[in-house]
């Protein structure tokens, strides 16, 4: 059963990827070479090789060296960049989870906290990341907490945290409140403490809400890290590669796509990790499929 489901899902994944490739190539054949204009405003993107390189060109770019005279193939560079960003994203996601779940528990415990804090959480997400990035990055090497000196990469992780904690906090809060009233009353009748109710009832009930929230948070962490890398030029990650390769888009348009795909793969990996933990968490859950 499980094997079949996995096979089906993988097949669907391949189909989804292939259809994007087919659409891309189809547009290249049918779309206007120099873009479509309606009343002088360009609406349809250009289909020429500079704006939209062939998918095969992008793929073959992976096999060629990053720059001439270097023996490093571009896939090696992109992969190591993605690994670097993955580590930062994981740190950001971990911090985001800690903060998000912590806030959710606090808010579900005290309604007044929820009333007072939630508007600020919503507001925090309206601050543009690029406005925040230089500020947070300036902590790098400057901030010292005891013997701990704030490294530059941590700033990028913090921006990942910033995007990750919000969906996690909101999703978990909703999940904690989703325990059926009858079950809560039952716990109350057992004179269960708040802590017992939280861990034995509310958290298990929250899992179906938390998993999608964590997936959002995981991809949010990646976006935050990549944007921070672009904005502050942190070396070693996929964001830095994107901006460096984008500068060469005039002469080597396929190059930047190699890094963009790397970032996309990173996002998928992160949500994949969450999905995997979901499978593990839900493994022993009683299947209440009687309804």
């Amino acid at each position: 059963m499980l094997a079949r489901r996995i096979a089906y899902r993988s097949a669907m994944f391949v189909v989804a990827i292939t259809s994007v490739v087919v659409l891309w190539e189809l547009y290249k054949i049918l779309g206007p070479q120099d873009g479509g204009k309606f009343f002088g405003v360009s609406i349809l993107p250009r289909a020429n090789d500079t704006a939209m390189p062939h998918f095969s060109t992008m793929l073959s770019r992976y096999g060629r060296p990053e720059v001439r005279g270097s023996d490093k193939k571009i896939w090696v560079v992109v992969l190591s960049g993605a690994m670097f960003s993955l580590r930062l994203s994981l740190v950001g996601f971990f911090l985001g989870t800690t903060i998000g779940v912590g806030l959710a528990v606090l808010m579900s415990r005290y309604r007044i906290v929820q009333r007072g804090l939630l508007p600020y959480l919503v507001m925090s997400q309206t601050v543009p990341l690029i406005a925040l990035a230089p500020l947070v990055v300036s902590w790098g090497g400057k901030l010292e907490i005891g013997s701990f000196i704030w490294p530059r990469w941590l700033s990028a992780s913090i921006l990942g945290t910033f995007l990750a904690f919000f969906p996690i906090a909101v999703g978990t809060l909703r999940g904690l409140a989703s325990a059926p009233a009858a079950a809560v009353e039952l716990m109350d009748s057992y004179a269960a403490s708040w802590k017992q109710t939280l861990f034995k009832l509310r958290f298990p009930a929250a899992v179906p809400f938390m998993v999608p929230a964590f997936k959002l948070g995981a991809s949010g962490a990646v976006v935050g890290v990549v944007v921070a890398e672009i904005s502050t030029g942190l070396k070693g990650g996929i964001g830095r590669l994107i901006i460096e390769y984008a500068r060469e888009a005039t002469g080597d348009p396929a190059k930047v796509f190699t890094a963009v795909f790397g970032a996309a793969a990173l996002g998928i990996t992160m949500s994949g990790l969450v999905a995997l933990s979901d499978v593990l968490l839900m493994r022993n859950r009683p299947k209440e499929t009687t309804t």
Partner: protein, 389 residues
């Protein structure tokens, strides 16, 4: 009551200890300065002075002189331990310097002067690039040979303070930026020009101009050549504004130790630039080794073009030419942008630049036998490969 008094006494005691400690370290610092001043002989170097340099952008040949000075040990010879910090999209070097996170910063003069007018106490201590490297590049058939031909055309510009020369040229040609031209926000690549979205694109001689020459011309299947383009050079148009210069923290220039560090830093940097003038291949390799992602031929082109902005330096490299300075500052006050505003509202004060440090640095280099004028400098011919690789 008694307890409160006790605390108050304790507080005062601690405060005086702190003050005492601070005073002590101050004394130590000045003592140290005095000691190093006595032993300027470069051989004696036990603890090198840490120096942080903030660049304007990622590692590339535009900053080769500093990397060469680091790589060739010119900074170490001056007993400096230099950390070079790369720039990025959202990093403004003059602000990093003014915030005290760097000891020196590389910035264009007009941008830095705008920051200075905004209250940042930063001082130009060496004008590395003596000439402007900004171009406006267009296809031959657009017939844009001078800035007067901009009329009615789509003119690309980068914004972020990189567009002032365009406005200066427009103002000089008697054109109104708001009515006579269509200003187009340009990406940091040249795709806009090649696709026809822009008639004339802003380009640096050492970077974006090379990018179009590295692109394939779909009509011929070969690379574009210089014959395909018209190039308006703002330097030649008489509206060139001074670009890469070394800026120092004005508030620290009263400290003799900082001045001494600055002098050594400028001297070693110019030595690095002289090294790059004489061996562009070696400097290209240094920059590539520092992790530049730009291709090798592109980087060599950049090195060669950057050299032409520095050499020959008639007054000695790094000297701030009063005429060029005045032109930059007056253009900054007169060139009107779209909103009718100017970069500067008033003339920069006399303290905005000093030639004292670079003069001392050049004297040091003369003793060492480094050619700081490069009067015999000849640029080389660099062939670009596809994609700059």
């Amino acid at each position: 009551m008694k307890k409160t008094l006790k605390f108050a006494f304790a507080g005062i005691a601690v405060m005086s200890l702190v003050v005492g400690a601070c005073g002590g370290s101050d004394d130590a610092a000045t003592d140290e300065g005095a000691v190093t001043e006595e032993t300027t002989a470069p051989a004696e170097c036990t603890t090198p002075t840490p120096v942080k340099l903030q660049l304007q952008w990622f590692t590339q040949a535009q900053f080769a002189g500093y990397y060469a000075a680091q790589d060739q040990g010119f900074y170490a010879d001056q007993c400096l331990e230099v950390t070079i910090m790369e720039g990025a999209v959202d990093i403004t070097p003059q602000n990093v310097l003014a915030d005290g996170q760097a000891d020196f910063a590389i910035s264009w003069v007009s941008k830095a002067l705008a920051s200075r007018e905004g209250g940042a106490n930063i001082v130009n201590i060496a004008q590395i690039f003596q000439r402007s490297g900004t171009l406006q590049v267009s296809f031959k058939d657009s017939n844009i040979a001078t800035s007067a031909d901009f009329k009615g055309k789509k003119i690309g510009n980068w914004g972020y303070g990189n567009e002032f020369e365009i406005f200066a040229a427009l103002t000089k040609a008697g054109l109104d930026p708001a009515k006579d031209v269509t200003l187009v926000q340009q990406q940091f690549d040249m795709a806009g020009l090649l696709s026809g979205d822009i008639d004339a694109a802003e380009a640096m001689t050492y970077n974006e101009y090379a990018q179009v020459l590295e692109a394939i011309n779909p009509a011929t299947g070969a690379l574009y050549t210089a014959d395909d383009f018209n190039v308006v050079s703002y330097e030649a148009e008489g509206v060139g504004m001074l670009q890469d210069a070394i800026w120092a923290d004005g508030s620290r220039l009263e400290d003799p130790a900082y001045v001494e560090t600055a002098t050594k830093f400028v001297a070693a940097s110019i030595q690095g630039w002289a090294f790059c003038r004489d061996d562009i291949q070696a400097c290209r390799d240094i920059v590539v080794a520092k992790g530049s992602k730009l291709g090798a031929s592109h980087q060599l082109w950049q090195m060669n073009e950057v050299n032409q902005l520095i050499w020959p330096a008639t007054g000695g490299a790094g000297m701030i030419d009063a005429a060029a300075w005045d032109r930059t500052s007056s253009l900054s006050q007169t060139a009107k942008n779209l909103e009718g505003g100017t970069v500067l509202t008033k003339a920069p004060d006399a303290g905005a630049y000093t030639n004292d440090i670079v003069t001392a640095a050049l004297a040091m280099l003369d003793v060492m036998g480094v050619d700081t004028k490069g009067s015999a400098y000849m640029s080389e011919v660099v062939e670009l490969a596809e994609g700059g690789n």
